[in-house]
């Protein structure tokens, strides 16, 4: 849809990707990857053409390298937590887009992926981890409750509705699939929150309403070797005018470990790693479970808004071999039991 906006340009990037194992406060490095390169990128006759080469000019290398060398000691210590074992991955990325007419844009980001042996994980910008530490360190009982999640209403809390909509609305919109009728009160917006940030082809991000037939405008890529694709950037899920009353017995989801959209079956799969069974004013932890649903049944199950907009720890989204981070914020949403709508 926005492909005419892609001008021929040079894309250059450096990515520094490190993995550390934290065990009772001590940190051991296990992986360190540094990748730098450039690609002349053009779109013509309906095709992308990339001429990609490893390595950068000394000037560009110096400029981008500054953004991926950081004092990470305090960051890693914070991520290591107070005890136990954790896997910490720190990805630092800087890229430049240079157009033939002299337009030039540089951008950099850092992400921290922290996971526990219990299957809980968050992907956050450094400095934000303390906001989500409780999700990682939440007590997991030896015998968590097991329920049939299809029989119960679900409260999508702590911004987790952003992941539900990422899979049920976002990925299909990337593929121009707009064949599900979403409630008018629901809005899933992508991009455009920060006008200063350009996409990976150096073009402005547009604000796109994914439940109203629009496709994410941003052309994004993981590295110089990858072909730009229209992908989500920064998802915000809101609801207007339909407030749902929380039923006394329900599932409350606050953390997911992975998600997937399958275009063939037009269904989504979510791996829920943090959830509890709420009964009145009491709650008890639930064992991790897998939720499968068609997109149509997700749309039919939506009951309304049940909480304010909250930032969810970012989503590390893997599609077509390219891992990209998608900012995620959502109001609380309530869904009726999936069994009722199928």
């Amino acid at each position: 849809v926005y492909i005419s906006a892609v001008r021929e340009h040079l894309y250059a990037s450096i990515t520094r990707d490190e993995v550390w194992i934290a065990s009772d406060g001590s940190l051991t490095p296990v992986v360190e990857k540094i990748e730098a390169g450039r690609a002349v990128t053009r779109f013509r006759d309906g095709s992308f053409e990339l001429a990609a080469t490893g390595g950068l000019s000394p000037e560009l290398h110096r400029e981008l390298e500054r953004a991926v060398i950081s004092d990470k000691g305090a960051l890693l210590l914070e991520a290591a937590g107070r005890g136990g074992r954790r896997r910490i991955r720190l990805i630092q990325h800087a890229r430049a887009v240079v157009h033939g007419d002299g337009d030039r844009d540089t951008h950099s980001w850092r992400m921290l992926l922290v996971s526990t042996p219990g299957g809980r994980s968050v992907a956050v910008a450094p400095g934000e981890l303390h906001q989500f530490e409780h999700l990682l360190s939440a007590h997991s009982p030896a015998l968590p409750e097991v329920v049939d999640h299809r029989e119960l209403p679900i409260e999508w809390a702590a911004g987790s509705a952003a992941v539900l909509m990422h899979e049920a609305v976002g990925h299909p919109a990337e593929q121009l699939r707009h064949d599900v009728d979403w409630p008018q009160w629901l809005s899933v917006l992508d991009g455009g929150r920060n006008p200063a940030v350009l996409d990976d082809c150096g073009e402005p991000l547009q604000r796109c309403e994914l439940t109203r037939g629009q496709q994410p405008s941003a052309w994004r890529r993981t590295s110089y070797r990858d072909v730009p694709m229209q992908r989500m950037t920064d998802l915000t899920v809101t609801a207007t005018g339909v407030t749902a009353l929380l039923p006394p017995r329900r599932i409350r989801i606050f953390l997911l470990s992975s998600g997937r959209y399958d275009p063939l079956s037009d269904s989504i799969t979510l791996a829920v790693s943090g959830a509890e069974l709420v009964t009145g004013s009491a709650s008890s932890p639930l064992a991790p479970f897998i939720l499968n649903a068609s997109r149509a049944s997700v749309a039919a199950a939506l009951a309304g808004e049940c909480g304010p907009i909250v930032t969810y720890p970012g989503v590390a989204c893997f599609d077509e071999g390219q891992r990209l981070f998608v900012g995620s914020r959502a109001c609380g949403l309530l869904t009726r039991p999936l069994r009722e709508v199928e």
């Binding site: 051991t28 490095p29 296990v30 992986v31 360190e32 990857k33 540094i34 990748e35 730098a36 390169g37 309906g46 095709s47 992308f48 053409e49 990339l50 001429a51 990609a52 080469t53 490893g54 390595g55 950068l56 593929q175 070797r225 072909v227 694709m229 063939l264 079956s265 077509e320």
Partner: protein, 303 residues
């Protein structure tokens, strides 16, 4: 101990997906090292030796043939490249062509991988045959015996060795690491030679496998069995119906192989057969890039 590995590579990559097409010409060099538990790698601007990009013409022809001839094409990736590697005192080169195809119809997806050292190794007719079968597929199931095309049987062996490593099932089938004329050196510069993996009763522990697989300089090399090759009793007769694709990954457990097969005539067949009942058809074998390489042969399944 520090193992230093260097690689220079050039490649052409053609991609088609979701009504998009891309052509990527790639040249890159990299270094990787292991030091105890730590794996380090980085891209480098220094080539090991100069390399010319492969000829694009045969790839474009192949792309055109598949894209116009195979219905239900969801995704097509064709990669052709050459690389120079060095590790320790050894330096070696290889060339490769790889094709990955995803075809969809009747709510099912058929994945197909093919590879070799040149375009001539890619069986385009098979890919087009799978395309025709996908077009003919109504979702109806057939029953009875089938023969597996080598591209299907090659998918069984990597699953089989993983399953038998957990729990071997006695079988007249034996499995070994084989050889490939174009890929004779592993990811750490060691020669890949024939090596027994399953003798019909027991499995050689993976810690004793002599070789390590390094599909990219960015990946830590892992112990792997290369170019899997099975020996089986010969079939007395070959079933007429031929399975040329799979609509689900083939799973081996408790001595049986299970999955769903797509046959040349468009019929679907539920596969649920004892490994001990597999029988070999002809002697001809073809190599496929499943896991660290797998040799497929025509196999008869009583089912």
């Amino acid at each position: 101990v520090i193992d230093r590995y260097r690689k220079s590579g050039v490649a052409i990559r053609l991609e088609r997906w979701r009504n998009r097409r891309a052509l990527v010409r790639l040249e890159e060099h990299g270094v990787a090292e292991e030091e105890g538990r730590l794996f380090r790698c980085s891209s480098s601007g220094e080539p090991l030796s100069p390399l010319a990009l492969p000829d694009e013409a045969p790839l474009l022809e192949m792309e055109e043939a598949i894209a116009t001839g195979a219905s239900g094409l969801e995704r097509l990736t064709i990669v052709s490249g050459r690389a120079v590697h060095s590790c320790g005192t050894r330096q070696w080169e290889d060339v490769h062509v790889r094709v990955h195809v995803a075809l969809v119809a009747s709510g099912r997806r058929v994945l197909l991988d093919a590879g070799g050292t040149g375009s001539a190794d890619i069986d385009t007719d098979l890919i087009l045959g799978v395309g025709s079968a996908v077009r003919a597929c109504s979702g109806a199931h057939a029953s009875g015996a089938v023969r597996l095309h080598p591209s299907v049987s090659a998918q069984i062996w990597p699953a089989l060795i993983l399953s038998f490593a957990q729990r071997p099932a006695p079988s007249p089938l034996t499995l070994e690491q084989g050889e490939h004329p174009g890929y004779g050196i592993d990811g750490v510069g060691q020669p890949i030679q024939r090596f027994p993996l399953f003798d019909g009763k027991s499995v050689t522990n993976a810690e004793r496998w002599p070789n390590r697989f390094r599909p990219s300089y960015r990946v830590r090399p892992l112990r792997a069995a290369f170019h899997l090759r099975a020996e089986l009793p010969v079939a007395e007769t070959l079933p007429e119906r031929e399975a040329i694709g799979t609509t689900t990954p083939l799973v081996v457990s408790e001595g049986r192989v299970r999955g769903e097969l797509l046959c040349r005539d468009g019929a679907l067949v539920k596969l649920d057969a004892a490994i001990s009942d597999l029988r070999r058809g002809g002697r001809e074998e073809r190599w496929y890039p499943y896991a660290a390489g797998s040799w497929g042969a025509e196999i008869a399944v009583g089912n």
